[in-house]
């Protein structure tokens, strides 16, 4: 039984805290080598328990390696070593000291298998080992581990830890862990009520989870107290949930904005219905893949820089493809928007199949650099770094684009050409060159959108297809020819979608948004930010 297992572990931990004699390296090594003969996960679990009982910080390395599946048995002498894979085999090192211990071929070693349950046990063991650690983060984690397991036997240890703790944040966590343990300890009513309050004060999901399981087994006054605490937490969480919907909406909106903003240029400014827009995004994503692949091969240290490196390249590659498309096809079709639709749809098919032939039909792996991975807590909101960066990135791209269109000579010429081609031409603007540049700019923007989307979506030849309809909806909804419209449109649709999703489900929510757009267009055929007056009608 897992509960028993945890009890035993905690018991061992207490023993450690009480200050038993430190086992020497040899004893630890013997225990470790016992893993070579362990048969089944249960046996490994027992050894992990024994090792943790020694309380020797040197065990940390070995346990960590076990948890990440890096512990091997050398078949020749049945010793347990850490192995890091390299081509054709492993580099071995000592599990306690970390000293290099030679190399081995794939067939010469056998991996010590771990599963989820075992990994959790190891995590808890490591957590226990570190309650007295010098690193406050480690102590914090240890407190969290005990909070979740809530073992009553840990109370004395926790009291000791609380007494010596200096860091207020860690101290708070320790108190909460103690409260958690108190709940399980059948303590007197007053003490339990205080514990309930402490936990309720935490106000997060873990606290709720703990209180709920406590409430299920409690009676009378205490049950009511727990119920009240639960209600209080749930109320706060409901507020956070609304905030969370807004954030998710903004995040979805930023993805839509990225996908659509290039289209706002090619479609909105130039009137080209670019059905190959999605493929420009896809090319940007594949550029990222190629950049990462090269970095992995030649310079793995630069991996965190792969996205900044990929950005300009993706822009150039997509812009280049866009330029070829514009010069080769679209320039013959100006003024015939519906025909550009057909031709660019053809282009999109060709591009998809080309990429499929070059890179294969399967998804390619684009990794998240460390700064794009993981999440942080903002109150009860889990904000993932990749989403946050994408929101920031989308806004930067938008701002840059506004700057280019409104403040640079190229932007001025672009607007001049769109508004009155003949006049612009007679004023000496090279209109064909401006057309090509505008289209290339729109395509290039799509390319850098691809870099961002590669972080959250499939990188496959179909990548673009998934965004093309949504992009058009955003541009049309926002009002063609108006960048601000695209911005507002993207975020409105994103937030709307996310508020509908919890009630209607993902599918119906999306259908509802589409229908709303169709109805909206009836009301305002030119979108949210349409220009009025005589000029637009002509």
């Amino acid at each position: 039984m897992p509960v028993l297992r945890i009890f035993r572990l905690i018991f061992i931990l207490i023993a450690v805290m009480a200050g038993p004699a430190r086992a020497d390296d040899a004893a630890l090594r013997t225990m470790l080598n016992g893993l070579a003969n362990a048969d089944g996960f249960a046996a490994i679990e027992k050894i992990v328990g024994d090792i943790a009982a020694t309380g020797d910080p040197k065990a940390e390395r070995a346990l960590g390696a076990l948890s990440s599946g890096d512990l091997y048995v050398r078949k020749a002498d049945k010793t347990v070593l850490i192995g890091k894979s390299k081509t054709g085999g492993y580099v071995l090192s000592d599990p306690l000291t970390g000293d290099v211990a030679g190399e081995a071929k794939r067939s010469e070693v056998e991996k010590i298998k771990v599963n989820n349950t075992l990994r959790r046990v190891v995590r808890e063991a490591l957590g226990g080992l570190t309650l007295a650690s010098v690193d406050p983060r480690a102590r914090l984690n240890a407190a969290e581990t005990i909070f979740k397991s809530g073992d009553p036997h840990a109370i004395p240890t926790l009291d000791a830890a609380i007494a010596r703790e200096t860091d207020p944040a860690v101290k708070e966590r320790l108190m909460e862990a103690r409260a958690s343990a108190t709940l399980k300890a059948q303590a007197p009513v007053a003490e339990t009520t205080a514990a309930l309050e402490t936990i309720a004060g935490r106000g997060d999901r873990e606290a709720l989870s703990l209180l709920k399981s406590y409430e299920a087994g409690a009676q009378g006054e205490l049950k009511d107290a727990a119920g009240a605490a639960i209600a209080k937490i749930e109320q706060t969480l409901a507020l956070w949930a609304a905030g969370q919907n807004v954030w998710y909406g903004i995040s979805l909106g930023s993805v839509l904005l990225l996908a659509a903003v290039g289209l706002a240029i090619t479609f909105g400014v130039m009137g080209v219905i670019n059905m190959a827009h999605g493929e420009m995004v896809m090319i940007g994503a594949y550029t990222t893949f190629v950049v990462q692949d090269l970095i992995r091969q030649y310079s793995p240290d630069l991996f965190d820089w792969s996205l900044p490196i990929a950005l300009p390249l993706a822009f150039l590659v997509s812009a280049g493809v866009g330029l070829i498309i514009e010069r080769g096809i679209i320039r013959f079709l100006y003024g015939r928007p519906l025909e550009t639709l057909l031709a660019t749809w053809g282009v999109s098919l060709v591009l998809q199949q080309t990429v499929r032939s070059l890179f294969g039909p399967t998804n390619r792996e684009v990794g998240n650099p460390s700064w794009m991975s993981g999440a942080f807590q903002l109150g009860e909101l889990t904000i993932t770094w990749n989403r946050l960066w994408i929101v920031v990135f989308a806004l930067i791209v938008f701002a840059l684009l506004l700057y280019v269109l409104n403040r640079t000579a190229l932007g001025l010429q672009m607007r001049a050409v769109t508004q009155n081609r003949r006049m612009a031409s007679s004023m000496g603007i090279r209109t064909p060159w401006i057309d090509a540049m505008t289209f290339a700019l729109g395509s290039g923007i799509a390319g850098i959108a691809g870099v961002a989307l590669s972080q959250i979506d499939n990188v496959s030849p179909d990548l673009g297809q998934g965004y093309i309809i949504d992009s058009f909806m955003v541009v049309v909804f926002g009002g063609v020819g108006n960048l601000w419209g695209t911005l507002v449109g993207a975020f409105t649709l994103g937030v709307l979608n996310k508020f509908l999703e919890p009630y209607a489900g993902a599918v119906l929510g999306k259908i509802a948004v589409l229908i709303l757009i169709i109805l909206f267009i009836q009301k305002r055929p030119r979108g949210l930010f349409a220009l009025k007056g005589r000029a637009v009608e002509a």
């Binding site: 220009l531 009025k532 007056g533 005589r534």
Partner: protein, 250 residues
């Protein structure tokens, strides 16, 4: 409702409209009597076309009254209803059905039912044919009746469009710059045509060409910044100092 409303064919009073804060028409009042032809002049942006848009129902005024034929409030009707009431409009840029023949253009314009389903089973009557022959004569396109309208010259398209207005048999014609892009001879011819039309209908002509306006020899209204600057005979108006200031130049 004043007496003026009931007798006039067109009655505009205190009409204003603005686009995104720009006042295109500002407290405009204009009265047209039945059988009258009126020329409207004014610099670009004076609100001439917008005024036509208001009369034909394309643009709704923000405020003011627009009455047709003494009783119909035009602000409550849309373009097709207004057209069916008897107001025909020729656009600044000649707008004809380019992929139809000259004759078909007139056929489609002929007064008659405007519903979709009856059109499926419509057959041309003798009376219709004769009316078309007559109009073709009037607009001097008999020889080109079977050609596509797209093949016509700019001036001929203008005429065809006037012909379509005739076929529509309206009480009031709004004609926007009918002689733009025409030769002198054509211009003269057009003036004659319009005078002929004005014998039986009311007409409003918007034009820049002062020579042409002179040939029409009718009452002139000068618009400026969406409001009436001067009204009277051409000589009176062109003598007005403000008109000279803003439009004719010194």
């Amino acid at each position: 409702m004043s007496a003026k409303t009931t007798t006039s064919i067109l009655y505009l009073d205190g009409v204003s409209v603005s686009f995104d804060g720009f006042r295109a028409i500002n407290n405009l009042s204009l009265v047209l009597e039945p059988g009258e032809m009126r020329a409207i002049i004014g610099p670009n942006g004076a609100g001439k076309t917008t005024m036509m848009d208001i009369i034909t129902g394309k643009t709704r005024p923000d405020e003011g009254e627009v009455f047709f034929d003494g009783r119909v409030d035009l602000t409550k009707h849309d373009e097709s209803e207004i057209a069916m009431l008897g107001i025909g409009r020729k656009f600044q840029k000649p707008t004809v059905f380019e992929s139809h023949t000259v004759e078909d253009n007139l056929v489609l314009a002929l007064a008659g039912p405007r519903k979709a389903i009856p059109a499926l089973f419509h057959r041309q009557t003798k009376a219709e044919r004769e009316r078309i022959d007559e109009i073709l004569q009037t607009i001097r396109l008999t020889a080109r009746r079977d050609e596509l309208a797209a093949a016509l010259s700019h001036g001929q398209k203008q005429w065809l469009e006037i012909g379509m207005l005739l076929a529509q048999d309206p009480k009031l014609l709004l004609v926007d710059e009918p002689v733009a892009g025409m030769t002198d001879a054509e211009t003269e011819e057009t003036a004659r045509l319009l005078r002929e039309i004005a014998q039986t209908r009311s007409v409003i002509v918007v034009e820049h060409d002062m020579q042409f306006v002179r040939e029409l020899d009718v009452k002139v209204t000068c618009l400026h910044e969406g409001t009436v600057l001067a009204e009277g005979s051409l000589d009176q108006v062109s003598g007005d100092s403000r008109v000279i200031e803003v439009y004719l130049g010194r």
